[in-house]
């Protein structure tokens, strides 16, 4: 704080002006009008309470604040609408309460609140700024009489920076308004230099305030081997036991408990009836104990792919693919010898490409083995004859009803895999969606009826199990209907009963007619 510096700061003329004091608001209003009529514009009035008409008396023009508020309010309105449109209908289309993605009634509350928010903030901030605030000092504060402006006195102020300011004229003008007192008031001469300590503290606070944000940003952008920070524990640690964990609560120290007596099983009922299973369990397990039956169902579940490694083929390529991302691909034993281990070293950057490249050459496309022939499935003693009457119309009607209710949502009404659910999922481009199987594919057509029944009962791939939902009779009815659908797709004219042939030959396309009924 050197002296020359201070002088430099003072060099522009310090503001000063005339201040007159009045005892009531009517005197003040009269004085204001006089000063206004004399052409002064840099004036101000101070009173302990708001005075009606003071704006007009001082010649203050109507404020533009309403327009600022209106513009900001409309900005809030349209901004909220666009934001919600973008969020709900573009960036993250997600069905909420069955409402459309762009759902105006649901948007209106947010639009309304944003309008209010923007209007309120712009009004307050605009009012503060238009009033010339924040303003840390005003010359009038130097006059001790001014303290009574918050109590019982009324003041009028004429600034020296007014375009027409002339000290003597202002003096005589104010004198003519018969004030209680009037003075020249000058801004005090104290320095307006902000102490450097204040700047430093402010800078330090700002810098410290940046730390949490930058730490979060850095974590967002980098990877780490360390376990995550648990700022909030959420549900990461829970006082519960998982399977295979120990517990001191029980004498045998096992956390997993056997089902209590009388527990009703849902499925795995221990039936060995081919009617309930879709295959004859005897060849696998000579006795019909529940354990054996379960073994059969387990074997059936992982049919084609599980069978491959037994034949000396490499393990599933999917696993080596996944492993290859982090470390050296677990190269299949025999096939790897031929192909060397070059992918591990030279092309570590794109292991996802190398692993499949190695696999098909050695392993005769294991991925296609399952869908194409399903040889392993053939090994099970599937039921190949319908255990229900094939020509029973009631059975067919039941099958149609149950198929339409349970299956057609995915497989489509004619079983071709084209359906509303599938179309919708494809439209949403959800990565995990698997196209439903067409029941007219050759591999499905050659499946024994027991296998189809088994698929309905236990599910397959993405398809859920329907054993709990449909009775065995209903499942067989569905198989019957599926068979009918398959027949109808490839039916020839000779398959159609004699009386109806004329109808078909009249219309040009023959194959599209359903012959099921």
């Amino acid at each position: 704080m050197s002296t020359p510096k201070q002088e430099k700061k003072v060099s522009p003329p310090r503001s000063f002006g005339w201040m007159a004091e009045y005892s009531d608001e009517n005197d003040l209003l009269d004085a204001c009008r006089k000063v206004r009529d004399s052409g002064y514009t840099r004036t101000d009035a101070f009173a302990p309470f708001p005075i009606h008409g003071i704006d007009e008396a001082l010649g203050i023009k109507p404020t533009i604040l309403p327009w600022i508020t209106l513009c900001c309010g409309l900005t809030g309105l349209t901004g909220a609408l666009l934001m919600e449109y973008w969020m709900n209908a573009v960036s993250y289309p997600y069905i909420i309460s069955g409402k459309p993605f762009f759902s105006l009634p649901a948007f209106i509350p947010v639009m309304f609140e944003c309008t209010i928010l923007f209007s309120a903030f712009s009004t307050v901030i605009g009012m503060v700024l238009l009033n010339g605030l924040p303003k840390f000092s005003n010359p009038v504060f130097t006059n001790p009489r001014f303290d009574r402006a918050t109590d019982d006195r009324f003041f009028l102020w004429v600034d020296s920076r007014d375009r027409y300011f002339n000290g003597d004229k202002v003096k005589s003008l104010l004198e003519s308004t018969s004030p209680l007192s009037f003075d020249v008031v000058r801004e005090d001469e104290s320095s307006d230099h902000v102490p450097s300590g204040l700047w430093k503290t402010a800078a330090a606070v700002v810098l410290i305030g940046l730390i949490p944000g930058s730490a979060v940003l850095r974590m967002r952008a980098s990877q780490s081997e360390d376990p995550r920070w648990h700022v909030f524990f959420d549900m990461d640690f829970q006082p519960k036991k998982k399977a295979q964990q120990t517990s001191t609560l029980f004498a045998d120290n096992r956390a997993s408990r056997p089902p209590v007596a009388g527990t009703v099983a849902r499925g795995d009922l221990g039936s060995s009836d081919p009617y309930e299973l879709g295959y004859t369990p005897v060849p696998l397990a000579l006795d019909a104990s529940p354990t054996s039956v379960r073994m059969v169902s387990l074997t059936a579940a992982d049919d084609a792919q599980a069978a491959k490694p037994v034949e000396g083929q490499p393990p599933t390529p999917a696993k080596s693919e996944a492993a290859g991302k982090a470390e050296t691909p677990a190269v299949p034993t025999e096939a790897a010898a031929a192909k060397k281990d070059e992918p591990a070293k030279s092309e570590e950057t794109k292991p996802a490409a190398t692993a499949p490249a190695a696999a098909p050459s050695a392993a005769a496309a294991p991925a296609q083995a399952g869908p194409a022939g399903a040889p392993a499935a053939e090994e099970l003693p599937w039921v190949s004859e319908f255990p229900v009457p094939e020509t029973d119309e009631k059975m067919m009607a039941l099958g149609k009803l149950k198929f339409t209710t349970n299956c057609s949502v995915c497989h489509g009404a004619v079983g071709d895999g084209v359906s509303l659910v599938s179309n919708r999922a494809t439209e949403l481009a959800q990565g995990y969606w698997v196209q439903p199987t067409s029941l007219h594919e050759p591999r499905v057509q050659v499946q024994p009826v027991g296998k189809i029944f088994h698929t309905i009962t236990n599910g397959r791939g993405k398809m859920g199990a329907y054993g709990n939902v449909l009775s065995a009779k209903e499942r067989w009815a569905i198989v019957l209907y599926v068979r009918a659908l398959q027949l109808s797709r490839d039916a020839k004219l000779e398959d159609v009963p004699e009386p109806q042939r004329a109808k078909l030959t009249a219309a040009t396309p023959t194959a599209a007619t359903p012959a099921a009924k």
């Binding site: 708001p50 009606h52 704006d55 309403p66 309460s97 069955g98 409402k99 009634p105 649901a106 209106i108």
Partner: protein
């Protein structure tokens, strides 16, 4: 301020004499119109549809009754709330509100046909819960039954008539004495009375309008009616004072500042009404529960959907945008125009609440309903003029008058 406290302006505050002369005519027009409406609805229907026509007339009568009643309850609330808030600005215009509020006693009489329908017949022509085999749960019928309905109606009107008469009588007393004590006393009573008012208006709305569809319910319904009432009341006040001033009355007592304030309230209640109406719709629409959405289902078919659209635009969007500006709110002619439009929209709104219960719209329905509306409004105006009589239209010796006169809207 003190110097002007006893100033009584030389201002004409009597009712124009040709208005007074019009009162019997209006009464006759009203009575005839209501009968014509009954004839239109009942006789013009084909033989087997006559009961439906009669039902339409009953609904129309109730709707138009509610329309006129909302002015009275709006006025009563205004009188109560301005006393409660010790509002000074309204001292010069409150007398008119007091007179409108006190006419509520006449409307108790005009409610008698509805009450007679409920008590003397077992007809479900108006209120389905009144008929036999209405299929309602027993605990609902414990509330919705003729006798209890009548008791409640008497209580509601009792509260309103007592409150309105008390405030009017005391205000008239002040005209003689000029005592500030009276104002203080009224302020003290306004608090408890406003609570009673809120409860009675809410339940009246439930009883008289909401129970027309007794399986449907909305806890906001009372506020919905209240918001419309207040808007209608301020619109009516603006029209009244514009007409009075056109006839050379209350030129000095009522100035542009008072109009500006009434217009602000009008604007505020246009928006409040929209807020409440939309909130009610949003909650029901989002919840999507059949027993709640059915009310809007009835109002989204059979021609009512266009009425709903008109309400959105005419009761909210256009007035909301146009009344935003201070310059418009300070212009008496434009505001009078908007008030007339909003009174019409209020009528459409009340219609939209009640008439869809009779079925889809039809030309005959609108005709009968409009004629009944003209009749009921004529009766309302006639009763109002008769009630004014020689009562001065300004409470000149109210202690707040000087402040009300020197008042400026910032």
């Amino acid at each position: 301020m003190v110097a002007t406290a006893n100033t009584i302006l030389n201002d004409d505050d009597s009712l124009p004499s040709h208005w007074r002369a019009a009162a019997p005519v209006l009464m006759a027009v009203g009575a005839v119109s209501i009968l014509v409406s009954l004839a239109l609805c009942y006789l013009a229907s084909p033989g087997d549809q006559r009961m439906v026509g009669f039902e339409t007339f009953l609904h129309s009568y109730l709707a138009n009754f509610m329309y006129c009643l909302t002015f009275c309850v709006g006025a009563l609330f205004f009188v109560l709330v301005t006393h409660l808030a010790r509002a000074a600005w309204c001292a010069t215009i409150r007398r008119v509100a007091e007179i409108i509020a006190v006419t509520v006693a006449w409307w108790a009489v005009l409610f008698l046909p509805v009450l007679a329908m409920v008590l003397l017949t077992k007809s479900d022509a108006l209120f389905p819960w009144n008929g036999e085999d209405n299929g309602l749960a027993a605990d609902k019928l414990m509330y919705l039954n003729g006798k209890w309905f009548a008791v409640r109606a008497i209580v509601y009107f009792g509260i309103w008539v007592v409150a309105a008469s008390y405030f009017f009588t005391k205000s008239r007393e002040q005209d003689e004495t000029g005592s500030a004590e009276i104002s203080l006393k009224l302020q003290r009573y306004s608090g408890p009375l406003i609570m009673l008012f809120a409860l009675s208006l809410n339940f009246a709305a439930f009883d008289w309008v909401m129970s027309l569809d007794p399986t449907w319910f909305s806890t906001m319904f009372g506020v919905y009616i209240f918001a419309g009432s207040m808007m209608a009341f301020f619109a009516f006040m603006i029209i009244t004072f514009t007409s009075l001033q056109r006839n050379g009355r209350v030129q000095k007592y009522v100035n542009v500042e008072h109009f500006h304030d009434m217009s602000k309230f009008l604007f505020g209640f246009v928006f409040f009404w929209s807020y409440i109406t939309f909130s009610q719709f949003l909650l029901i629409w989002y919840g999507n529960i059949p027993e709640e959405t059915i009310w809007f289902k009835h109002r989204m078919e059979g021609g009512w959907q266009y009425v709903g659209l008109l309400i959105i635009l005419g009761h909210f969007a256009f007035p909301m945008l146009c009344l935003l500006s201070r310059h418009i709110r300070r212009n008496r002619t434009i505001m009078c125009g908007w008030s007339i439009w909003l009174l019409f929209m209020h009528w459409v709104d009340i219609t939209f609440m009640i008439l869809p219960n009779t079925g889809p719209t039809s030309v005959m329905m609108w005709l009968g309903h409009a004629v009944c509306g003209v009749g009921m409004v004529s009766v309302f105006l006639s009763l109002l003029i008769l009630r004014v009589g020689s009562t001065p239209l300004v409470a000149k010796r109210n202690p707040w008058i000087p402040e009300a006169l020197s008042y400026h809207v910032m």
